[in-house]
Amino acid sequence: MELYHTLYITLLVLFSFLMLICLIRAVKGPQVADRLMAVNMMGTMVMVMISVLALLLNEGYLVDICLIYAMISFLAVVVLSKVYIGIYEERVRKKNAEEGSLHDSH
């Protein structure tokens, strides 16, 4: 059992380092899609970490939380991208309207 404990702790430490690298991508990413993709990757790693924690603490219900986490992170990506497409289209429409009014005044 000591062996399993050591393995789980090692896994948790490793995944926290990998998540840090993901965070660097999320900060650096030039486009919004880059950042969303990095957040999605971090979500995947957090899912593995929660599952490891469930086995480490020997608490089966933590896996339920992991399942809900998967659903919420999927929903977050879909909703955020839809919202951003909406914001972008609104911005383009506003810009076009301003250009149209400038053109009329000339």
Binding site: R25, Q31, M37, S51, V52, L55, G60, V63, K82
Partner: protein, 140 residues
Amino acid sequence: MTAIEWVRFLIGSLFLLIGIIMFITELYGVFHFKYVLNRMHAAAMGDTLAISACLLGLMIFSGFNFTTLKLFLIIVFLWFASPVSSHVLARLEIATNEKLSQHCEIYQDVSDLERELADRKKAEANSPADTAKEKEVSAL
């Protein structure tokens, strides 16, 4: 620990090792590629393959109980959710990037693409003959 427990431990750790190697490959790909649509290819691999390998290792550790079933449900859910989220992200990139033609070729019509691919294939079929002719000429 008995011999069977040792074998279980080793097989489980092997799967976890494969998963971590896949995660590291994913991160390398995400930093290696220069554009989002290329990076997405590397990121989708981690969402399905890497987490499947990791959870399979944990399932072997957990043994035959209800936790294993729930871990399997996570894998099944991610198999459905990951392609959809990748598709939505790609649509976001296509819809919002104004300088898309700098990063990839854009075809307004599928028939244009098919025509160009056919041309390329024809050119490839011709080019080996050309180089052979050139070789003959240079030999002469």
